[in-house]
Amino acid sequence: MLGLGDVWVFMAYLLCIASAILCAVYGFVKWNDDEEPYTDEAKRWVEEEVEIEKSI
């Protein structure tokens, strides 16, 4: 168990690495998926966001 004293902590160690791998695999598999056109709503949102940025 990699020198760890408890199976629960060993599981935590593995889960950390496994979840990072899950994220990496998900991200790389879907690297080019879900691209969307730049909508009017997004454009309006951006313009207002820039104004908010100026106010702080």
Binding site: I17, Y26, W31, D34, Y38, A42, W45, V50
Partner: protein, 589 residues
């Protein structure tokens, strides 16, 4: 040397901030430019906002006390804080945010449920309670500066707050992803080197873990359920409840309803960028909290094994604190008389330390991390880096922590400023047009006030809690738990549940907040005792007894808020189909 590199770091941050701001101005390429923004930049920016000195110094120190069981928090940080947050929440938040033209988290909830009250209430909660989270981030940075430069904590606190204030004035609150990405890169480099050096210092992965497994918890910790640094605490013990309910679950789940993180999803062009950011974000968080918690726990091996030992201020037989060893006087024929009264057996060649203006002999001995850190949990990581790592790494780590603190603080102050200006003030005035200019002023005053409140909390929190308490971890957990209880059911409902009503969400938020607050003031042992209201009103420190006094408020407030939201929604008026169609446009296939 350290000061020089800190200066270089600040110049780079200022330059990147200026570049990004100049490009953003007028051209609206804040998001349009997002077409060119590499997913690395988005992910590092999110990660740098997510992870602060609280995670590295505060929770890393907590791992020095509680052990590697904290890695369950890293697992939740990655699986919940990145994977679920981006895939399940992020994509919908982004789309719904655009449709409703929402720019803050309270605004998203308010517009989704057509309630100005929800927006104002959420805004005021953020404004009032987020300073607690900002304070513990500042404490994390100040503790490192204190230990690194061997200066007073108050001086370090004022120095760091001054840097933060200058950063804010220079425009550090502008959502400039490149600045955050630079900070994130620095953090990734610093933490990668830390884990390599830590494992090298303790003899490798398996040997280091085995040595840690051999350490036996001292009786005071064992009595509370500590079973060793590579084992989980005894089920149901005080330490188990603190570790599992407060530190792991409170923070691990609470991250989903963090106002300053939710808005980040809207700053990317499409869901494709979110997909890509998941890959980099997951690895980044493993490098951050995974490394901090592993190194924090393994520091016990180094502190108990190292031959040099730790220098203590041992005055009149009592160990006072870890001695920086910077004011050493070598005894010779000339000065021996001066110290003879206090040290009878002194001889030329001996060394006396004048730290704290109290002459004392330097005592060296190996010990557990918490003892080496003078009983202060937050000093474990700084002391470990200072004593076990090479000097050049201390400089790199200083920059890592500055980057971690600044990137989180900028988004926190941004969230607090807009919470009081846009979400509260602009909602209570009737003439919106004429109030806009004043709104800008309110934003700025709000940010100034929250910086001062954070500074005051940064001074008082270490005084309120007793030595040995993980102040940063507790402070962070309280805020995350409060957010989970108050906002999470409303946020889930907003994104997924059409049947939930405005009245249901208001009732859920109010009940979640009330219970979390009540638990904090009247039940949770350390906090209720520190606040003292329970003692004044009821003549006893807490209303309930163990284990309830160790259970995080989120455990009670989140389920209650969820049930109240669902039940009240069953009996109250549904939102109009037209409004729901507008909110969920593009979200249903």
């Amino acid at each position: 040397m350290t000061v020089f590199w800190v200066f270089v770091y600040l110049i780079i941050v200022a330059y990147l901030g200026y570049l990004g701001y100049r490009h953003t101005k007028g051209a609206s390429d804040y998001l349009v430019g997002g077409r060119k923004i590499h997913p690395f930049v988005m992910a590092l920016s999110y990660g740098a906002t997510f992870i602060s000195t609280s995670a590295i110094v505060g929770f890393g120190g907590a791992a020095g006390v509680f052990g590697m069981g904290l890695l369950y928090l890293t697992f939740l940080n990655i699986f919940v804080g990145i994977f679920l947050a981006f895939v399940i929440f992020g994509k919908r938040t982004r789309r719904m945010g655009y449709e409703l033209d929402a720019h803050t988290f309270p605004e998203l909830l308010g517009r989704r449920f057509q309630s100005s009250f929800i927006q104002k209430f959420a805004g005021i909660i953020i404004f009032l309670f987020m300073p607690l989270y900002a304070a513990v981030v500042i404490i994390g940075a100040a503790k490192y500066i204190e230990q690194q430069f061997a200066i007073e904590y108050v001086t370090a606190l004022l120095f760091f707050t001054l840097i933060v204030a200058v950063y804010v004035i220079m425009g550090g609150l502008k959502a400039v992803m490149y600045t955050d990405a630079f900070q994130g890169s620095l953090m990734a480099i610093g933490m990668t080197v830390l884990i390599i050096l830590t494992y090298y210092d303790v003899g490798g992965i398996i040997k280091g873990h085995s040595e840690l497994t051999k350490l036996i918890p001292p009786p005071p910790l064992a009595a509370k359920g500590h079973m060793g640094w590579t084992s989980m605490p005894a089920l149901g013990s005080d330490i188990w409840w603190t570790l599992v309910s407060t530190i792991i679950m409170g923070v691990g789940i609470g991250v989903l309803a963090q106002p300053q993180l939710v808005v980040r999803f809207m700053t990317v062009k499409s869901n494709r960028e979110l997909n890509r950011a998941v890959a980099i974000g997951g690895i980044f968080i493993l490098l951050m909290t995974g490394v901090a918690f592993t190194s924090g726990a393994l520091s016990n091996v180094w502190f108990t094994k190292n031959e040099k030992g730790i220098h203590f201020c041992e005055i009149s037989g009592a160990i006072v604190e870890v001695c920086p060893g910077k004011k050493i006087v070598k005894i010779d024929e000339k000065n021996i008389e001066k110290f003879k009264a206090q040290f009878k057996d002194i001889k030329p060649g001996d060394e006396i330390d004048l730290h704290k203006d109290q002459p004392h002999k330097i005592t060296a001995k190996g010990s557990l991390s918490i003892v080496a850190a003078g009983g202060v949990v937050e000093n474990i990581i700084p002391q470990f880096v200072k004593q076990a790592m090479p000097q050049w790494f201390s400089v790199l780590f200083m920059l890592t922590l500055l980057a971690a603190a600044m990137s989180t603080l900028s988004s926190q102050f941004h969230a607090m400023g807009t919470a009081i200006g846009r979400d509260f003030y602009m909602q209570i005035v009737e003439d919106k047009k004429s109030a806009e200019e004043r709104g800008v002023l309110i934003n700025k005053i709000g940010i100034g006030v929250t910086i001062i409140i954070s500074l005051i909390l940064g001074y008082f929190l270490p005084l309120i809690y007793a030595k040995g308490e993980a102040i940063i971890a507790r402070g962070t957990s309280i805020f995350f738990g409060l957010c989970a209880g108050t906002f999470l059911p409303a946020y889930i409902s907003a994104l997924y549940l059409k049947r939930i009503t405005k009245a249901g969400v208001i009732a859920g938020m109010l009940s979640g907040f009330t219970i979390a607050f009540f638990w904090l003031v009247f039940v949770l042992e350390k906090e209720a005792m520190a606040i003292g209201l329970c003692q004044v009103l009821f003549g006893k420190p807490t209303l309930l007894s163990s284990p309830w006094t160790m259970v995080d408020p989120m455990f009670i407030s989140f389920p209650t808020s969820l049930v109240v939201t669902l039940v009240v929604s069953l009996f109250t008026k549904k939102l109009s189909e037209e409004h729901l169609a507008h909110c969920f446009k593009g979200l249903e296939k």
